[in-house]
Amino acid sequence: MLWNTLLLALRSIRRNLMRSFLTVLGIVIGVAAVITMVTLGKGATRSVTEQIASMGSNLVIVMPGQRFGPGAVPGAPFKNADAEAVRSQIAGARLVAPIVTQGATAVYQANNWSTVVTGSSDDYFEVGNWEIAAGRGFTEAEERAGKAVCVIGETVREKLFGRLHNPVGSEIRIRQFACEVIGLLKAKGQSSMGADQDDIVVMPLRTVQRRMSGSQDVSRLSISVKDSASIDAVKVQLAELLRERRKLDENEDDDFRVMDTRQIAETLTATTRILTMLLGAVAAVSLLVGGIGIMNIMLVSVTERTREIGIRLAIGALEREVLLQFLIEAVVLSSLGGLVGIALATAASIGLSSLMSLPYLFDPGINLLSFLFSAAIGVVFGYFPARRAAGLNPIDALRHE
């Protein structure tokens, strides 16, 4: 019975090709939209969480200048002494990394690579959530003496040494001086803005100031706050201290900015949340449209189907055979739609993720859920009208108008 009924169901699908196609299409669109949206939403969330994690927590960044609005205040750079003052006077500051950056070309043998050299202290690695994959960070002696040592990022390693070579102990040339590679940073990958975080060379602050920038300027301070201290309190203290050191009058605005990662994280998380909700709403609408489309097709064909069921009953089909046929038909169509939808969604998610530089995360849960949902839609709209008709007297089904 099952085999014959399957045959009848397949014949019916073939016979009503347009109806079958539209049913499948409705499900494909709904399923593909839901899976793609949810996958992209998850990718965006992951990307934001990763970025926040890679910035390190409890981080406060102080930069000279106020960049709000048209009357942007440039603000003088900080000095080494500012970093010392913060270190000694702000009780809530755990680590302080003064940072200065310089563009430069790094050369090793025949290879050269244009990168950014960051001058800072050994604390830089911990504050910035960097792990040292090989070698070591700076010693206090190296920092004090401004020795020509450096720790390089994965991209710089790859460009200068190739994939397999261990760079620790080698010498590279930066501008006119030779610099010993003492450490290699563990790769972080792209930031969510698309910048390559691993394109980096780190040296002691004094080395960069003496040999490259030629001044005592510090372009920003990265400060990690003690767990026990309040970030807001530290920010207020920082602002007071810096205003005092920069001799700002009471009626003058700050000529520097104090930001914390929590602020950045909150903004980013809120944005992704809104984005994910928006995507979800769009997906829900498309699912609804798909469902209404299927319902429409099925309702339009109810008269024809009822008469067809009447014919089948009249020539001796059992009610359960008719129902099984329609059930198989509905399940085959909606499963087909579900599978095509999943395939389409996978392709679209991978494509869109790479386009938006988001990580692609296959989510079996949403795939399964959409598949089951599509099967349910097919069964509800395909099977239930049939069930009513199959319960009629054959003659009433035949007479249906």
């Binding site: 014919i311 009953l313 009249a314 020539i315 001796g316 007297n393 009433d396």
Partner: protein, 235 residues
């Protein structure tokens, strides 16, 4: 002929449509006995209950009262499923409006009852082709109803009704939608089915010309049998 041998026996069959104020009694107590091998024409004015009676005979509908014996089986005691099986194994129905599956080839339409009977594919195809050949449609197996004339569609419907070798062929105005020439071809076919294969035929018709093919004419008036006579005596 003994009563026990009767193929079909209607006793006091009534049928009421609707309920309460709107109730309408379409059959007011029909007594009718049909022996195996007979060819009965059912005539009568429009609305006299001919179709209603045929649908009950064909187990497509249930009576409101009375008793229906089919080969000695009390049909009104059967379950829905058993009535379906009765239709499947013993009855063939031909409708005025053909009632073929649309966009389905003649062959597939004709083999449909055999699929429900669970016949294997090869036997099914052979039987369906033979039935189509019998109604003069050899070579038309792969045409869909839309590609066939009215007369050809009715032949497909007859082939579908007889492919299972039913005991009874019930035809409700089988030529009602066809012109005279085509009608006579269909009648010749039905007559030969009755004469050569011994299929019992009950046929509703409005046309005395068509009723003339039958051996017996039952006349309905207002939900009752008004007259029941062998052809010739009917006048």
């Amino acid at each position: 002929m003994s009563q026990a041998a009767a193929l079909i026996q209607f006793s006091g069959i009534t049928k009421t449509y609707g309920r309460g104020q709107a109730a309408f009694q379409a059959l007011k107590g029909i007594d009718l006995t049909v022996q195996a091998g007979d060819f009965v024409a059912v005539m009568g004015p429009s609305g006299s209950g001919k179709s209603t009676a045929m649908n009950i005979l064909g187990c497509l509908d249930t009576p409101s009262g009375g008793s229906y014996l089919f080969e000695g089986v009390r049909v009104e005691t059967l379950s829905r499923n058993d009535r379906a099986l009765l239709r499947r194994h013993y009855l063939g129905f031909v409708f005025q409006g053909f009632n073929l599956l649309a966009r389905t080839t003649a062959l597939e339409n004709v083999e449909l009852p055999l699929i429900y009977r669970g016949e294997p594919r090869a036997a099914r195809h052979a039987a369906a082709r033979a039935a189509l050949a019998q109604v003069g449609l050899a070579g038309w197996e792969h045409h869909t109803p839309a590609e066939l004339s009215g007369g050809q569609q009715q032949r497909v419907a007859i082939a579908r009704a007889i492919v299972t070798r039913p005991h009874v062929l019930l035809a409700d105005e089988p030529t009602g939608n066809l012109d005279t020439r085509t009608s006579e071809e269909i009648m010749d076919l039905i007559v030969s089915l009755n004469r050569d294969q011994g299929i019992t035929v009950l046929m509703v018709t409005h046309e005395p010309d068509m009723a003339a093919f039958a051996r017996r004419v039952v006349r309905f008036v207002d939900g009752r049998v008004e007259s029941d006579a062998s052809n010739g005596e009917a006048g």
